[in-house]
């Protein structure tokens, strides 16, 4: 890059002036560093795009209504669908939400509004939740297998699966709800208490309604984690099922498990089905995340 020197001196420029002028451009090193950072960003984003496009193209041939209308089959790939896996996933999500939401929100209310953070037991709970959020999902699978599936004798049912997944996502619900509750300004609480409301009335009528958007967003994100989990379900013994679940004690299969089963089949038709089922799963996830973003944009309040 050349820069025209403002006052053009008639005499040949002084030798010291040239490097000074050159230094105003961006040195090569700076540009190289910036390009390197760009590259780091790009690898992740490009892989994401490649993955999405690849799964879509691979599954295109099997992406039709039979995925929803037909049952899985291990002998006839041409007519195999994923109905029992889709209904299984939906049942699982509903009950995971029923177990995890109230527990997680109550835990968050306790930690934010009631618990004294200087007490040792509250700090233990807090650190414990942070740690639990990073425990591998397969360890939750072991817990579900040992305690719920075999210990309580529930077997690989919707009940076992949903409790296991609820425990898995509980830390996420608690952490997100706590953040939402913490974002409600202290003055709202003070005002409510000053008007004679009790602590619980303040929480129930002021803090919670104000924190609902944040809590809902966190809850949906937690569920979108649960919907994609295959490892803990495999641990529980969830596998191939050709019927829709009809109750809590019904055995079932779920989309991620079905994708895994189809991937392990050697026939290429099943690879196509695995890709098609992946597209269905991704669409469900996309729908959930859109709802979360919609809620956040619609109800975002500034204090």
């Amino acid at each position: 890059m050349t820069i025209t020197a403002p006052p053009p001196p008639p005499s040949p420029a002084t030798p010291a002036a040239r490097p000074l002028l050159k230094a105003t451009g961006e040195p090569l090193r700076e540009r190289a560093f910036k390009w390197m950072l760009w590259f780091c960003m790009a690898v992740g984003l490009v892989t994401l795009v490649v993955l999405l496009v690849y799964v879509f193209i691979r599954g295109w041939g099997a992406l039709d209504t039979r995925l929803v209308t037909n049952m899985p089959s291990s002998v006839l790939p041409a007519t195999a669908g994923a109905q029992s896996a889709i209904t299984g996933t939906l049942w699982l999500m509903v009950f995971t939400a029923i177990w995890a939401m109230p527990t997680g929100i109550l835990a968050a209310i306790y930690l934010e509004e009631y618990g004294d953070p200087t007490r040792w037991y509250n700090r233990v709970i807090e650190i414990n939740i942070l740690n639990l959020a990073a425990v591998p999902s397969i360890v939750f699978g072991i817990l579900g297998l040992a305690f719920i599936s075999r210990g309580l004798g529930f077997g690989p049912t919707i009940l076992t699966g949903s409790i296991t997944l609820a425990l898995l996502v509980l830390p996420i619900v608690v952490i997100a709800s706590r953040e939402a509750i913490r974002a409600v300004p202290q003055s709202i609480r003070a005002g409510s208490l000053a008007l004679g409301a009790t602590r619980w009335q303040t929480v129930y009528r002021q803090v919670l309604p104000a924190a609902i958007p944040g809590i809902a967003t966190g809850a949906i994100l937690a569920l979108s984690r649960a919907i994609g989990e295959a490892a803990p379900l495999l641990m529980l013994g969830v596998s191939f099922v050709r019927f829709n679940p009809d109750g809590l004690m019904s055995t079932f299969t779920a989309l991620p498990v079905q994708i895994y089963n189809w991937t392990t089949e050697s026939r290429p038709e099943y690879t196509e089905l695995a890709a098609a089922a992946s597209v269905v799963l991704l669409v469900l996830l996309l729908a959930m995340n859109s709802v979360a973003i919609y809620i956040r944009n619609k109800t975002q309040r500034r204090w």
Partner: protein, 282 residues
């Protein structure tokens, strides 16, 4: 109270892992488990040395870290120090989508696209790498943990007070120098926490390794070969219907206990480090 459910879960995990694991160690000596080099619990003449599973786990974790640590840190520096506000608000969520993709889809991706791609890229024998191999699983897992590392590191860098940056600029530093000599060192504990958490996620990841790295224990460090990790062993063994109370059933818990201890220690380190930078700057 509801908060106690989380504590109960932890207690439940510890009991459900360590009681059967303890029974396991009454049948198989702890030293055989930790230092043995043959893992063949289902054979007539069983070997219970966990070393081959540890090799598989470490090998894949190292590959994933080589991918994810630099790329994640680079992305974080870009997002925090270079990107304009508007760009950051689009790119950060886009990157975080990577963390939301179900791992079973990553496994599918690794097995059906990345492995054939590697075979095409690596000249010579068409059977190298093997159809199940550690490299493909490690690379895809690396991409999966980029957002974990990028997000947490970016949080740490954003917490560095802008006064430090302005001071450095005032002394004549350029952006690169501010980023590498001021912001990164100041955010180091947060960045380390991000690294530790990312590695912990890699160790605990199951579906990618089950699907792409295979189910055969291997003591060689060759990433082009089939490897079984601790998580893959647990998942595949439990999925096969095995009777409660047998030694093989208890191996699940012994390996699970080892996995839990490894990730638990790393998570605690990470939580500690995050607290440290919060205390300094907030």
């Amino acid at each position: 109270m509801a908060a106690l459910v989380s504590v109960a879960t932890t207690v439940g995990i510890v009991i459900s892992l360590f009681v059967p694991a303890f029974q396991f160690f009454q049948e198989v000596p702890l030293t055989d488990f930790l230092f043995g080099t043959t893992w063949s619990p289902t054979f007539a003449n069983p070997g219970f040395g966990v070393w081959p599973l540890v090799v598989g786990t470490l090998l894949i974790t190292v590959i994933a870290s080589i991918v994810a640590l630099p790329l994640g840190l680079g992305s974080a520096v870009y997002l925090s120090e270079y990107a304009e506000d508007r760009v950051r608000r689009t790119l950060k969520p886009a990157l975080e989508v990577l963390a939301g993709i179900p791992t079973v889809i990553y496994g599918f991706f690794a097995l059906t696209l990345v492995t054939p791609l590697l075979r095409w890229l690596i000249p010579g024998d068409a059977e190298i790498p093997q159809i199940y191999n550690a490299l493909s699983a490690g690379l895809v897992m690396g991409v999966m943990i980029i957002p974990t590392i990028a997000s947490l590191s970016e949080d740490a860098m954003s917490a560095v007070p802008s006064g430090l940056r302005q001071g450095a600029f005032a002394l004549g530093s350029n952006r690169r120098q501010v980023a590498t000599r001021v912001v990164v060192p100041a955010a180091l504990s947060g960045i380390t926490a991000a690294f530790v958490l990312g590695i912990s996620r890699a160790i605990g990841e199951t579906m990618i390794v089950v699907m792409a790295a295979g189910l055969q224990p291997n003591t060689s460090w060759n990433p082009l070969e089939i490897h079984q990790t601790m998580t893959a062993f647990i998942a595949s063994t439990a999925a096969g219907d095995i009777a409660t109370g047998t030694t093989i059933y208890k191996t699940i818990f012994a390996v699970g206990a080892l996995l839990f201890v490894m990730t638990f220690v790393m998570n605690m380190i990470s939580i500690r480090l995050v607290r440290r930078y919060r205390e300094v700057y907030e």
